[in-house]
Assembly symmetry: C2
Homo-oligomer: 191 residues x 2
């Protein structure tokens, strides 16, 4: 049976299954056996490719962040001017791939994981720093030295709405969340 070149396929399947399983259980308390079964293989094989459960979690987190980063980059390509760029960042944050229920649940759990797990914290910090610097860069020409405070509030609002969405249990509404953040932005800009 051994078709060669299975490694990337298996790894991707495990990452996907990990996110799905964490999303379904709403907890990091998922076993390697559960993940492997969902991905259609034995737990031994999961260990063979990833070495440990920690590494599986990290790979899943990296995947989510990678997809998110790509979406932000894509949105920024089409944005013209500071305000449009900020709006692009906001829209990407609440875009479809980041805003699927399973992804949100996985995010929340990774937040908590970052309290314990140094590598997870590092990954998260990268995301936060990038979001903040994106916002700051485009806020500066709009609000000058208030940029720092405004960025804090916008980032806070984004995270807060995301959190509420994750906890609400009701189907995610990215459009409404985006509208709220953009409202807040307009208020900050005095429009």
């Amino acid at each position: 049976m051994p078709k060669l070149g299975m490694e990337p396929i298996r790894r991707a399947a495990l990452v996907k299954a990990t996110i799905a399983q964490i999303g379904e259980r709403g907890s990091l308390d998922v076993t390697v056996a559960q993940i492997a079964k969902r991905a259609g293989m034995s737990s031994a094989l999961a260990h063979h490719y990833f070495g440990s459960k920690e590494q599986i979690f990290l790979a899943a987190m990296r995947h989510i962040l990678t997809v998110y980063a790509a979406e932000v980059r894509g949105a920024l390509l089409m944005a013209d001017g500071p305000q449009a760029r900020i709006e692009a960042v906001v829209r990407a944050g609440f875009g479809t791939s980041n805003f699927r229920p399973e992804t949100i649940a996985a995010w929340l759990n990774f937040y908590v994981l970052s309290l314990t797990f140094k590598d997870a914290e590092r990954l998260l910090r990268v995301y936060q720093t990038r979001l903040r610097s994106n916002l700051l860069h485009d806020l500066r020409p709009l609000v000058g030295d208030r940029a720092d405070a405004v960025a804090t509030r916008l980032a806070g609002l984004i995270d807060g709405l995301y959190l509420q969405q994750g906890l609400s249990g009701i189907p995610a509404d990215g459009r409404a969340a985006t509208a709220h953040v953009l409202s807040a932005l307009r208020l900050e800009l005095g429009q």
Copy 2:
């Protein structure tokens, strides 16, 4: 040794130890043995009084929410007028007892617990509903039918700043967080 009337003392000690332990570990992955040891008793006694680990967690969560509710009530007593009342709610949310690092870490973990555990979800929903209705009640005379949207944004900002604080690792700064929310409020009020 058996001094009578130990039950409430033991229960309180266990609740306190649970919050401290979750805060210290940054995770719900704490054992009954750890909690019991921190509270100065055997794990068997912890089970004797609470029956199960779930019940210990629920009691800890209830305690946090109870203290929070008391603080909000206290702050509201001194508040005169809608805007002052809103400010009181915000200040209480970022007040000292809710804003100790261990409490924040426990909160974040309880957020995630509520995804899995129905009773935890119920408790959290009570808090969210109360916060929202407090805000709505006093926003209505200030912004009329925009109250609903404004409440969503304020509650989102509060939760988001709280989340960021919990994840940042740096010592909590309740004053700054309060100032940000009040800034946002003033913008919404057109001041």
